[in-house]
């Protein structure tokens, strides 16, 4: 495309094609608007939490009131009025915990519309085509999807968790964090805040004070979790922040793979989402954590959209433990997110695979921290940033090695792809090695789709949009392959959708 064409394309950009923007008309219980200690007490009481938990929350909240909003990220947005938000919203019909059969049909319908059936018999009957031969991998082999247990979180409450009985047989605990606080308080108390302390940063402190729900996973020693676990977050209520908290513990020698998905309705006002995720892997344990984040990105002019301020951190606490983060970030108006690994255990391993797509007016500042503390610990970072429209896309990463982290190894690969010439891609790597035995490698590339490549694809019958989607899917292939098989095909489609309107 000639330059004029590119300019024309950018003018016609239209990102209002968000497919998950519908709203569910459901009566909700709200906490009074605004934030103070009473709201914290209100949430804790709603959840029927033990007293120590309320104390923990209050301490975090008090710490937060003395903290400043961070400004170092390359994102710009109007100041948030934290007193103008609701901190708790729950469908009225969810007042009492219910079995699957009693769930408000409106909620079931919402999830079905999102492509996520919650009734196990439907899942088994293949509504979601699980278990069906569904897609073609790069080697031309057909890929069969397995079963997935789902925890569905609607605004501030967990609606239902599927396949609980089957998981319990294997000793795996998978439930909402509210339920875990009631049913497994000792486990929660032992680990909550042990990776992301209550006062870790501005948004983490806010979350610790007012988090309303999220998922809890515990996998006992030596157990390989028999299916994929997944949480689906849906923000529905207006002017309501979503603050979820997830805690996953993989005990010695265990393995679990977990995926979270997120969507929200199309709204003119921005919505705040500040989550905290903590992962703990003990000796020889492995956690694979995947995210497909598709919160409403705002319209073409940058109106509305979710502010996604998230703290995710994994602690490779045990020897030879492994934590792997895979993220596909396509939504949100603003993303501020750095899933990190503390590589404490000897020979522990951290991985971060990221696809971050920005279009329209989206702003992404995302990356990871690999903090090497243990001997022979290793890490790998593969980041693929795709910027289109008038968006800004920053990779920000830290790799550090402590004095005692002998032979720490890191490999970082940061690739950016620019679509059009009104967007920006930035790479900000920080490296700190306090031992001379550390070997850190960093590679970075920036590329564009050339006119010749575009013409070649079109001469084979692809439209411009199909060509961009194909190109982008090729660009992100290494990372896409890290996703659980069950989600690969859907994610590929999502990538195509999120780039619609990026070319004329």
């Amino acid at each position: 495309m000639a330059d004029q064409d590119t300019i024309d394309l950018v003018k016609t950009i239209e990102v209002d094609k968000y497919k998950y923007g519908f709203e569910t008309d459901i009566e909700s219980d709200y906490a009074p608007k605004g934030l103070n200690e009473d709201i914290v007490r209100f949430i804790s009481a709603k959840k029927g939490e033990p007293a120590w938990m309320l104390e923990w929350r209050l301490e975090a909240y008090r710490a937060w009131t003395h903290m400043e909003e961070p400004t170092w990220a390359k994102v710009h947005y109007p100041k948030i009025d934290f007193q103008d938000l609701y901190y708790y919203a729950a469908p009225k019909s969810m007042a009492a915990p219910k079995s699957l059969d009693e769930i408000d049909p409106k909620l079931l319908e919402t999830y079905a519309k999102l492509g996520i059936p919650l009734k196990e018999q439907e899942i088994l009957a293949g509504v979601r085509k699980q278990g069906e031969k569904s897609t073609l991998d790069d080697d031309g082999n057909e890929v069969t999807a397995g079963r997935v247990a789902i925890d569905a979180v609607f605004d501030s409450v967990s609606v239902v968790t599927t396949f609980k009985a089957e998981l319990a047989k294997a000793g795996v605990i998978f439930c909402s964090i509210s339920e875990a606080l009631r049913e497994h308080p000792i486990l929660v108390k032992q680990y909550l805040g042990s990776v992301v302390p209550a006062g870790d940063n501005y948004y983490a402190a806010l979350n610790a004070g007012v988090f309303s729900d999220g998922s809890f996973v515990y996998v006992p020693p030596g157990v390989r979790c028999p299916m994929e676990l997944s949480t689906y977050f849906r923000m529905n209520a207006k002017n309501t922040g979503q603050f979820e908290r997830t805690l996953i513990i993989a005990d010695k020698g265990s393995y679990v793979s977990y995926l979270e998905g997120c969507t929200a309705p199309t709204r003119e006002e921005s919505q705040l989402h500040a989550a905290v995720v903590e992962l703990i892997a003990l000796d020889d344990a492995e956690i694979k954590y995947s995210t497909v984040q598709n919160w409403y990105p705002g319209d073409a002019e940058g109106k509305g959209g979710v502010y996604n301020f998230v703290t995710k951190r994994g602690d490779c606490r045990g020897a030879r433990s492994k934590i792997s983060w895979t993220q596909v970030e396509t939504g949100s108006a603003i993303t501020w997110k750095y899933p990190s690994c503390i590589l404490r255990g000897e020979s522990s391993r951290g991985e971060f695979y990221s696809i971050a797509i920005s279009n329209g007016r989206q702003q992404v500042d995302s990356g990871t921290k690999m903090i090497h503390l243990g001997k022979n610990s290793s890490s790998r970072i593969v980041s693929k940033g795709i910027a289109a429209g008038r968006s800004d896309n920053t990779y920000r990463g830290l790799v550090s090695a402590h004095r005692k982290a002998l032979n720490a190894r890191n490999f970082t690969q940061c690739d950016s792809l620019l679509i059009g010439d009104q967007c920006g891609a930035h790479t900000v790597p920080y490296i700190e090695a306090k031992t001379s035995t550390a070997i850190f490698e960093h590679e970075a590339t920036t590329s564009k789709i050339s006119d010749d490549q575009m013409f070649y694809c079109m001469s084979r019958g692809l439209s411009q949009e199909e060509a961009v989607a194909l190109f982008v899917n090729g660009f992100v292939r290494d990372v896409l392959q890290q996703l659980p098989m069950e989600f690969m095909a859907e994610t590929q489609k999502l990538i195509g959708i999120s780039l619609e309107g990026s070319v004329g």
């Binding site: 495309m1 000639a2 064409d5 031969k133 073609l136 790069d138 080697d139 031309g140 057909e142 050339s450 006119d451 010749d452 490549q453 013409f455 070649y456 694809c457 079109m458 001469s459 084979r460 019958g461 692809l462 439209s463 199909e466 194909l470 190109f471 899917n473 090729g474 660009f475 992100v476 292939r477 290494d478």
Partner: protein, 251 residues
């Protein structure tokens, strides 16, 4: 099928005319060879027919099955049956050749209102066509043209053609850079596609290819115009005397 009338093409960014009144008529089932010295405008003709940016048609027209070809987007032309085997095929990193074929075929089928092939149907179809061109499974997994040798690139172009089954095949110097064995494989692949409903325009600098893909007509392109047309014997004449005669005529 294709009727080019008095086509004048200049570069968009430069005031330089490349094609200066070219006319050509191609009927279904025919194979036309276009021969000419380097720089005479052979690739330009193929690009203009396929719809590449950067050229401006100042005069004349090209009708394809009665429709104005030059008014269509490149992907519309493809869906209607125009295919160009590139002189210099383009690399698409990260996209497996098999995947590319699938997306391209389905995009064309969709544009024509046909239903997509099922995965097993598609796989069988491609494997069969690939085998005939000596293209291994391994090569189908590799990203489109990335790290392909010159010969592999040309075979891959012919494979795309065999899979997409266009009605008008334009081959731009598909023989260049091939040794004699590779040339035979490619020519066999092309000949297998010859049919009463399909036409071909075979662009080449050398007569050698035309021993294997025997044309019905040969045209000599020089300085942006067809200066002589004839049967296949014209190619042999050119082989003997070179292009010198024709270059003079224009000058």
């Amino acid at each position: 099928m294709l009727k080019i009338e008095n086509l004048h093409v200049k570069l968009e960014d430069e005031n330089r005319e490349i094609l200066k009144g070219l006319s050509l008529s191609v009927k279904p089932g025919e194979v036309h060879a276009i021969m000419g010295p380097n720089g005479s405008g052979k690739s330009t003709l193929s690009y203009v027919l396929a719809g590449r940016d950067g050229y401006e048609v100042t005069e004349g027209e090209a009708m394809f099955n009665g429709e104005d070809l030059l008014a269509m987007d490149p992907n519309t032309r493809a869906a209607k049956g125009v295919f160009l085997a590139f002189q210099y095929p383009i690399e698409i990193p990260g996209v497996a050749t098999m995947q590319f074929l699938k997306v391209a075929l389905n995009a064309q089928r969709k544009a024509r209102g046909e239903k997509e092939l099922s995965i097993p149907e598609f796989m069988r179809f491609v494997k069969d066509r690939a085998a005939k061109l000596n293209i291994s499974q391994d090569m189908l997994k590799r990203p489109v043209n990335v790290g392909f040798s010159g010969g592999e690139k040309k075979r891959a172009e012919v494979l795309q053609m065999a899979v997409l089954e266009p009605s008008l095949c334009i081959l731009d110097e598909t023989d260049s850079g091939l040794d004699i064995d590779a040339l035979k494989v490619v020519a066999d692949g092309v000949n297998a596609l010859r049919s009463p409903v399909r036409a071909m325009i075979v662009i080449t600098h050398y007569q050698r290819l035309l021993d294997y893909i025997v044309p019905d007509f040969v045209h000599v392109l020089s300085a942006g115009k067809i200066v002589k047309s004839g049967g296949k014997e014209l190619a042999h004449e050119l082989e003997k005397n070179g292009y010198a005669d024709y270059a003079e005529k224009v000058a």
